[in-house]
Amino acid sequence: MKISLTVNGQLREVEITPYTRLLDLLREDLGLTGTKEGCGKGECGACTVIMDGELVASCLVPAPQADGSEVLTIEGLGSRDNLHPIQESFVETGAVQCGFCIPGMILASKKLLDENPHPAEEEIRLGLSGNICRCTGYAKIIDAVMMAAEKMDGRESDQDG
């Protein structure tokens, strides 16, 4: 079957089977390998993307369900020369170690900050509780989100997804 969806602002048409997961569609059909698979079971958050404004584990979303939707992946957030403030903050606070959890962490942070531009530490913990990181101990990830909130404060929300 064929579905169409908007990924990172571009309309894409993809041929899929009814069993394709959104994760496979992104990684294999569209080559967007920034979205990672860590468990395939909705537990680790490595495959997190934003679909129609909601945070989803793309390993649990059947691709047919994404027909007509709008999806934001890490590749749509910013590039090296034009980093999103959240990406900048993850670099500047040293919140990145191996990096495997980071695309999911950043998208979960974006969703959190879109809804709550000034989260308290407790709220950050809640917002990122679906994303597991084995390297960082989370401390600097919290710092990164705090810093991003400050950076985004006053800046026009220029990049959206």
Binding site: E43, Q97, I132, R134, G137, Y138
Partner: protein, 763 residues
């Protein structure tokens, strides 16, 4: 001494790729004509393989090839003992042993075809406890071995009989630790590419130790090392875990790729990863300690038994670290220690961050607290009476006089920061209500680098290009710990250039010299020294050229941030122009660096010698709240003081502390691979729980710096010490809060509440 780059929290050089999703990990790689492969694994922990019929699988759609042990040129490999099967031939020794594999056009087709392979097994009785494995006359799990013992490390000092006679009090206790999973978020992935750029085979993927994997693949293929090329990609965490299991995967992929003449990709699902990867060794530990009534230790006797599972893997070395460190950082005249490893039919066990230390520290630091209680001395005071100080002699007879023995300093700093003394007194009083608080501490000394495990040397290569850009090649691997950044900092510091001119190359075994494995927190110390060596050679060449050109004394040549200055601070030229000119004159601007650690020694029979050339010291203090009504346990604060020699990158050190402390917390209170008769029950992250952001305590890192004479700029190590202390500190805090001493890990809710686990062996 003031540094430009060293000792500063510069940004990680690889962070940009990682925050934009550009960084390529093993599973992200694509090659033309690539096929996918899957492995059929045994469900039985111990069985004879009677027959394997692959004929139906071969006819399945998309299948390119089906393989068994008969197709493997040389089926046995192993870094220390060659006993690990690429695919099981006559016998499976653990549940998860591969028995056959399929390559197909798609992953789904490979998985479908696996189901059609028919294996006839004859189940054999299994051994699931290492203590059973040592019994007389019990079945041997590896036929060519005398018995099931993988290793025995003895250590003898003084006369324990004598020592116990001098004691006013003798305490005997038993402790137990569990299997745990590395839980790197990226499951294992490799691609094997045949006939790639003049090599028989190239392996790409999430590989912790490219040289060990290259050796394993060459051994399995019966070929030369030069025919095999291993290229490390970004690796999604390893913690000691992506070594043998990835070598096996690489060897399997290589066999298929050579047969099919096509690239073969293998990616484990989480279930496959947990089923087949090696774990942290569970230990059973018996401790006996004697002390005078004023708290001086007189003797310690220890027996530790490690479960090696089906293969030897790294058991001989893991247990060796245990024997060196088993008494903890305490002065003792009389010691008798025996550490054993045995084969069983459990999952096999290998390297994991900490490497044989977290188990003995949990036991020995719990024991010291138990002794303090018996003696009615505070745990802090008892430790201060016995700890190693400058010139102390260790259990193996090594005099600690070549570096600063800073244990007292790290303890003091942690105690002050956490307000330990006051809190300890406060929580010792009767506490009202169900919620009880406790505070506990644990201390350690840790040998840096490999010690007498293996030759401890590393190499690197630095090339300066004509345009002033610099490429750094090191044989040690970036596993997420920030090595690329640290090595770039050292290069920048020595050459006098800025970090942005430096590119750190991915490890490629063909171009980077073999530096052994990136283990034992040795990368900064040993690898850093080799980078420094290479950079210094180049710097000397450049200095000499400049002195000549500008008619300066050699000592007056100063290079900073990419500019050449004379002794008076006048800018003479740019680094680029100078190296460009040198290049045009045919002066070589590449240099290899080499570093070999200072001499060490070990007598395997007596357990004596200088097993490590230097040590680091640490102290962690945990604060907990225990709900004695429900058994709920929360760790609220962790203070972690570590002497790192010198922090090349303090931000990075703190990152290691946060990560290590949280991983240590998982080990202490949550994690356990539940193994029932050799089979793992919790094979995904919904059942195998690791700390989330909600479990994270307040963490207070304290970096203590006593530069080491042998480390680069005085640096030692930090990766592993951060993880080894948490479980013991938490156990001690829980004992204070709840009044219950728990002697096995993890300290789970039921154990806190009723003193034992409720659901061992089946919920």
């Amino acid at each position: 001494m003031a540094f430009e780059y060293v000792n500063k929290g510069v940004k990680r050089v690889d962070a940009y790729e990682k925050v934009t999703g550009k960084a390529k990990f093993g599973a992200d790689l694509e090659f033309a004509d690539m096929v996918y492969a899957k492995v059929l694994r045994s469900e039985y922990p111990h069985a004879e393989i009677k027959a394997i019929d692959v004929s139906k699988a071969e006819k399945m759609p998309g299948v390119e090839g089906v393989y068994t042990a008969d197709d493997i040129p040389n089926n046995l490999f192993g870094v220390i003992v060659q006993d690990q099967q690429v695919l099981a031939k006559d016998r499976v020794v653990l549940a998860g042993d591969g028995v056959a594999m399929v390559a197909a056009e798609t992953e789904e087709q490979a998985a479908e075809a696996l189901k059609k392979i028919e294996v006839e097994y004859k189940e054999l009785p299994g051994i699931f406890d290492p203590v059973d494995a040592r019994a007389e006359g019990v079945q041997k799990l590896h036929e060519n071995k005398e018995d099931n013992q993988v290793i025995h490390h003895p250590l003898r000092k003084g006369d324990v009989k004598n020592g116990f006679e001098k004691a006013d009090i003798i305490l005997e206790r038993e402790y137990k630790t569990q299997f745990i999973e590395h839980s790197y978020i990226e499951p294992e992935a490799v691609v094997a590419v045949p006939e790639d750029q003049n090599h028989l085979i190239s392996i790409y993927g999430s590989i912790q130790n490219p040289y060990a994997t290259r050796t394993a693949v060459a051994v399995v293929l019966n070929t030369n090392l030069s025919k095999v090329r291993v290229i490390q990609n970004h690796i999604g965490g390893s913690f000691g875990g992506k070594d043998e299991v990835v070598s096996a995967m690489a060897a399997r992929a290589a066999v298929m790729a050579l047969d099919l003449k096509k690239p073969v990709k293998m990616v484990n699902s989480r279930e496959e990863s947990i089923t087949e990867s090696y774990k942290r060794h569970p230990y059973q530990l018996k401790y006996k300690v004697g002390a005078t009534k004023d708290g001086k230790l007189t003797a310690m006797e220890i027996e530790a038994v490690a479960d090696s599972g089906g293969y030897a893997c790294q058991t001989p070395f893991v247990t060796w670290r245990s024997v060196v460190q088993a008494t903890g950082p305490y002065e003792l005249e009389n010691v008798k220690t025996d550490v054993y490893g045995y084969y069983t039919n459990n999952p096999y066990t290998g390297a994991m961050r900490g490497y044989g230390s977290p188990q003995v520290i949990f036991a020995q630091e719990s024991l010291v607290d138990e002794l303090a209680k018996e003696l009615d001395i505070s745990p802090l005071e008892l430790r201060l009476k016995n700890i190693y100080r400058q010139n102390s002699i260790t259990a193996s007879g090594q005099k600690l006089d070549t570096h600063t023995v800073s244990l007292e300093e790290v303890i003091k700093k942690a105690v002050e920061k956490s307000n330990y003394k006051e809190k300890y007194l406060e929580y010792s009083k009767e506490q009202k209500g169900d919620i009880k608080k406790g505070i506990g501490l644990a201390v350690s000394f840790r040998g840096c680098s490999l010690g007498a495990e293996a030759i401890d040397a590393a190499a690197s290569l630095i090339q300066i290009n004509k345009d002033g850009s610099v490429a750094v090649y090191s044989g040690l691997a970036e596993n997420g710990q920030g090595l690329k950044t640290i090595f770039s900092q050292i290069t920048a510091e020595v050459l006098g250039i800025t970090m942005k001119n430096i590119d750190y190359m991915e490890i490629d075994t063909t171009f980077t010299p073999d530096s052994g494995s990136t283990v034992a927190s040795r990368a900064t110390l040993v690898g850093g020294n080799s980078i420094k060596d290479a950079a210094q050679k180049l710097r000397a060449t450049i200095d000499a050229f400049c002195a000549d050109k500008f008619d300066l004394d050699l000592d007056d040549v100063d290079i900073r941030e990419g500019f050449i200055y004379d002794g008076k601070g006048n800018r003479l030229a740019t680094f680029e122009d100078i190296v460009g000119e040198m290049g045009n004159q045919g002066i070589m601007l590449s240099a290899y660096g080499w570093y070999k650690g200072p001499a060490i020694s070990w007598d395997e029979e007596k357990g004596t010698g200088n097993p490590y050339f230097t040590y680091v010291y640490g102290c962690q203090i945990a604060e907990v709240e225990v709900d004695t009504g429900t058994g709920e346990l929360s760790v609220t604060n962790m203070t972690a003081a570590h002497d790192v020699g010198r922090a090349i990158n303090p931000a990075n050190v703190k990152g290691q502390v946060y990560g290590g402390v949280v991983m240590g917390l998982g080990y202490g209170i949550m994690e356990e691979v539940e193994v029932n008769k050799g089979k793992i029950k919790n094979t995904n992250l919904d059942e195998y729980l690791i700390p989330t952001i909600k479990d994270m305590p307040e963490i207070e890192p304290i970096i203590v710096e006593n530069p080491d004479p042998v480390g680069p700029f005085g640096a030692k190590s930090i990766g592993e010490p951060t993880l080894e202390l948490g479980s013991a500190a938490i156990a001690n805090a829980v004992a204070q809060a709840s009044g219950r001493r728990i002697r096995s890990l993890p300290l789970n809710l039921e154990r806190v509440l009723i003193g034992r686990a409720l659901h061992k062996g089946g919920k």
